[in-house]
């Protein structure tokens, strides 16, 4: 009898724990669903073609209307410039780590430094950009687009290195050896065999890195300043981006025209979350559709 009772207790414990496990999933998903629902519900009414197509020129203090065209433009420019800086550095570093430096002392130093870079808080990246351009330009309070791109690039590099490294390691050595056996030099093997095989994974990694920095606010807050219209010159003057627009507009929601500003905040939030989510889903789709078959 006691044996039966014990087994029943064990079975109950097992069920109970399984239920608890799934509860953690529910607890984690509840905020995500609530967040998406809130942003869509509050943002959708504000997201009109006019809102997306106009900027904030002349609407600093009062008046309805205005929009986020300039902030979208700024986000695109700053993020693309960051990618232009970070992707070549990140991919080359990963290629060197996997194909050339593996096992060397310098490689372990670089790997360690990439780990350190992964841990740099985003606001510290912003402070770095500020310090760098304060020294370079001589302006005690520099405000320019390229500074934001440098800060974002600093945050992107480790993500890119890590994901490209993973992908290059997945390329089977058989492919490299087959290429060498045909007399192809190492650099051509890397460029023509290894990188094309891993390209889907690399694109996925880069897209995820872009998605991550596109929503960054803290570093941009320190170096981009602000603007009411699109500024396509990264070397002169403030630039507005979506995340910074959201944060700065939030301060206006307690004053006059509070309702107008609240609409702008949530409209911009919805726009930003759509951009980030589209990039994320695109990255996964690219990754799973074009993934190389490893044969295992």
């Amino acid at each position: 009898m006691s044996g039966l009772a014990l087994s029943r207790r064990r079975r109950l414990t097992d069920r109970l724990v399984a239920a608890l496990m799934w509860t953690t999933f529910a607890v984690a998903m509840a905020p995500l669903l609530s967040l998406i629902w809130t942003v869509v519900r509050r943002g959708a009414p504000a997201l009109t073609p006019d809102f997306l197509g106009s900027d904030m020129t002349g609407r600093a203090l009062l008046g309805e209307g205005g929009g986020i065209a300039h902030a979208i433009a700024g986000t695109v420019m700053v993020t693309l410039l960051a990618a232009v800086m970070a992707v070549p550095v990140g991919v080359l570093t990963a290629v060197w780590l996997v194909e050339y430096g593996a096992g060397s002392r310098l490689a372990s130093v670089v790997t360690f430094l990439v780990d350190v870079m992964t841990g740099i808080p985003s606001i510290v990246a912003g402070l770095f950009a500020f310090a760098l351009f304060a020294v370079v330009t001589g302006d005690p309070l520099p405000r320019l687009g390229i500074g934001g791109s440098v800060a974002l690039a600093l945050l992107m590099v480790p993500t890119v290195v890590r994901s490209v490294e993973e992908m290059l390691k997945l390329v089977p050595d058989d492919l490299r050896e087959a290429s060498y056996a045909l007399g192809v030099p190492k650099w051509r093997t890397v460029v023509k065999v290894v990188l094309p095989t891993a390209v889907a994974g690399i694109v996925t990694g880069v897209t995820l890195a872009v998605a991550r920095v596109a929503g960054e606010t803290a570093p941009l807050l320190l170096i981009l300043g602000t603007a009411r219209e699109a500024n396509w010159n990264p070397f002169d003057g403030g630039v507005q981006t979506l995340p910074v627009f959201i944060f700065q507009s939030l301060n206006q929601t307690s004053g006059a025209d509070a309702a107008v500003w609240t609409g702008r905040v949530w409209g911009a939030a919805l726009c930003l979350i759509v951009i980030v989510m589209v990039l994320n889903v695109a990255a996964r789709v690219i990754g799973s559709v074009f993934a190389p078959r490893t044969g295992k």
Partner: protein, 289 residues
């Protein structure tokens, strides 16, 4: 030739990081020349300003990790051991999606949805002897900020733990099952002991992430000063370094910017130490993180 080009990339990483150290130090060191009072945001000394901020940063992040630990272990086990294979991938994807939400939007949600909901909870905590309050009606306190931090650190901690749990040797699991263990007993006897150092490492790395999180805290937290306080539910409690910088930067000029850079440098050193410790624990436990 190509080897050289690739090497240049690697060397640029080193140069990049050296630049971070050099420029932060160059702009941070003049902070020692700041005079007491106005230039130090009303404090007597640089330590008197950065110390309380460090304390607030660590306090909020540690509370966040206390919340995250059980959730992440459960969530990682769901993905690695409990969910049927067909479900494990979508579940993992949803958790990753949580990590993709920009922090400024998490902050908005924290102010709008979370803070008003936890306000009554904070009121009931107010009866505890060591918490004094008064609780702000907006619910924007350090404890609320810690909950937001927990939400933001959860995906990364879960991702690391699920890698660790997946590394459990199949033989250990099957041995436990063959002895008649239920699934939970198998997890308790095989998976958790094997992953113990991995769990610690994941929490350390999550802590490193939480320490540096800026926007969500800057938005949710009502406090803007640099008070030394352990009162989690007060309207004007402790603040974190990152949030303090974000909230005060716009109005800073002259030596005050140096003071903020110095605070950032302190944050960088702290996160570096925590991350390093995390990786050290992971390498001792022979788990790949």
């Amino acid at each position: 030739m190509f080897r050289r080009i690739a090497l240049t990339g690697a060397l640029l990483v080193i140069a990049f990081l050296a630049g971070v150290a050099v420029f932060l130090t160059a702009k941070g060191v003049p902070a020692f020349g700041a005079e007491a009072g106005e230039q130090l945001y009303g404090k007597d000394s640089l330590v008197g300003l950065v110390g309380p901020l460090l304390f607030g940063t660590v306090l909020a992040s540690v509370i966040a990790m206390v919340v995250v630990a059980p959730l992440a272990i459960g969530l990682a086990l769901v993905i690695s051991h409990y969910a049927p294979r067909r479900l494990a991938r979508p579940v993992g994807f949803l958790v990753d999606l949580l990590a993709a939400v920009p922090s400024v939007i998490v902050g908005l949600w924290g102010i709008e949805v979370l803070a008003p909901r936890v306000a009554p909870l904070l009121e009931s905590l107010d009866r505890l002897p060591f918490l004094e309050g008064p609780v702000p009606s907006s619910g924007r306190t350090l404890l609320t900020a810690a909950l937001v931090l927990a939400l933001m650190a959860l995906p990364i901690v879960t991702a690391i733990m699920r890698e660790v749990f997946a590394q459990t040797p199949r033989a250990h699991e099957e041995a436990a099952l063959a002895l008649g263990a239920t699934r939970w007993e198998m997890v308790r006897m095989a998976v958790l002991p094997y992953g113990r150092s991995g769990i610690v490492a994941a929490l350390m790395l999550g802590l490193g992430r939480a320490l540096g999180e800026t926007m969500a805290v800057a938005m949710v937290l009502g406090a803007t000063g640099a008070k030394l306080s352990a009162d989690l539910i007060a309207a004007d409690g402790a603040n974190t370094i990152a949030a303090f910088i974000a909230n005060n930067y716009a109005n800073a000029s002259g030596v005050k910017t140096n003071v903020l850079v110095f605070a950032g440098l302190a944050l960088f050193v702290l996160t570096f130490a925590v991350n390093y410790l995390g990786r050290w624990v992971a390498s001792r436990g022979r788990v790949a993180v």
